[in-house]
Amino acid sequence: MARIEDQASLGLAEAELTQAAARRLDRAFRGGAAVFSILMLLVVWELIARSGRVTMFMLPPFTVVAKYIFNDAVSGVLWTNLAVTLYRAMVGFFIAAIGGILLATLMSRVRLIRWFFDPIISVGFPMPKIAFLPVIILWLGVYDVSKICIVVFDSIFPVLTATLAGIATVEKELLWSARNMGANERELTWQVILPAASPQILTGLQVALPIALIVEIVAEMVMGGYGLGGAMMTASRFANSAGVFAGLVEIAVVGFVLIKAMAMLRRRLLVWHQEAAEPTTT
């Protein structure tokens, strides 16, 4: 009898092993396909650019663009522009994140504040706030302050709505038991409500981050000056299309790295929660 059971469990273990192997194989296959697709994209780009059907101005070959980026990296221009863009986008994003969470918390606790800001948020959220850019330039000029301001103005709304929604869905039982155990209002907010709302808050931040980047790039393009977007605009003015495509690649890499980092941060911060995975739609 014992031998049969042994064999049965052995068979089961074997089946599990092959399943795990199949999954690993599938993942390896998908990874390989991903690398293949991206390489193919670059090869097709290069081939079309060199085929003579399009001019160098319309589409400079990838190798030319890569060399342009390399030269910028060696001369240091790339790092200056990168630092300026990241500085403004990140300062704006953090102000929007902290300000949004604080204001939403205040709104959930003080009825007068809630009454005042509720209609402003519901009307302001779907507005294309980038249209206010010339107004902000009129008030604050074309330097860092106005760029950071438009980033904050645009990216604070998703943080606000997500935090409000998160706070609204905190389970009543949690609040009751915390109060029962003698938590005061401040402890309730910082130790119960905000942690319980953190999955939604992080979703809000994940929506706000790409908006901050999009708006920062537009602000640089409109106002000019340093920064990856500003450099792209300068290149475009001088009909330097290698410079324009180099800017596109650089900005794409920045966006990719920041947004992946944000998703990783979410997984780290929410290991204790079943919603650690990324939201399925954005």
Partner: protein, 247 residues
């Protein structure tokens, strides 16, 4: 009625505060013209036809780009969800372009298609396609395999099954993706017109700003903002109507 008034009272208060600030000498009335003068300028712009002409151009670009993105992006998303080979090879590209700050495409589309409608439509199409594709993909992947099998066993053709089974179950997520795309379309429309255009809302804002006609500039800014808001509200109502069978 009274509760709605109470609810939107803060907006009225803001408008009054604006008027009062502008009329007092605390802020420069050039930088912040009174709201009443902005309203007068708005009527003037409507009379000239400036606002209507440029607005029509902008909205044409917006809806053309968004429409293309919905048809092509939605089709691609559903095809990716149903056809594994396509998924394996195209999904990495979607993931690659998803985090791209779409405004970086503005100078590139200008290089390709110039300053007119074409470059704006292409930009809005490219920018909006990714959220629509991802929405359709997630939605169609969630459609229950059992339903697909039973439809096929009852003799539904491939196309018929797509339309009757996969589309309805993909609809909620697809519609959510389109809502994101609608907001993005407004951002890209205004930005690209601010940066490189000879027509449209964004161009008009930039032009009026550069000639110092700030009252008129404010009028156009507010018009665009309210149009964005109204479009979202109308779309939400449409979404609810399309999903009314779900209860």
């Amino acid at each position: 009625m009274k509760s709605a008034l109470l609810r939107y009272l803060p907006l009225l208060l803001l408008a009054l505060l604006w008027e009062a600030l502008a009329r007092s000498n605390i802020v420069d009335s050039l930088a912040l013209p009174p709201l009443s003068k902005v309203a007068v300028a708005w009527v003037g712009l409507i009379r000239d036809g400036d606002l209507v002409d440029n607005g029509a151009v902008s909205l044409y670009r917006l809806y053309a780009g968004l429409g293309l993105a919905i048809v092509i992006g939605g089709g691609l998303g559903i095809a990716m969800a149903r056809w594994r080979t396509l998924d394996v090879f195209v999904n990495p590209l979607v993931q690659l372009f998803y985090p791209l700050p779409k405004s970086a495409l503005i100078p590139v589309t200008v290089i390709w298609l110039g300053f007119g409608d074409g470059s704006k439509i292409l930009l809005i199409f490219l920018g909006c396609m990714i959220p629509v594709t991802i929405g359709a993909y997630n939605g169609a992947r969630g459609s229950e395999q059992v339903l697909v099998w039973s439809a096929r066993s009852m003799g539904a053709s491939r196309l018929r099954m797509m339309w009757d089974v996969v589309m309805p179950s993909a609809l909620p997520e697809l519609l959510n993706g389109i809502r994101t795309a609608l907001a993005l379309a407004f951002i890209l429309m205004v930005s690209s017109e601010l940066i490189a255009a000879q027509q449209g809302f964004g161009y008009l804002i930039g032009y009026l700003g550069s000639t110092g006609a700030y009252e008129a500039m404010y009028a156009v800014v507010l018009t665009v903002a309210l149009l964005g808001f109204a479009n979202d509200r109308i779309y939400q109502a449409l979404m609810q109507w399309l999903l009314r069978w779900r209860e």
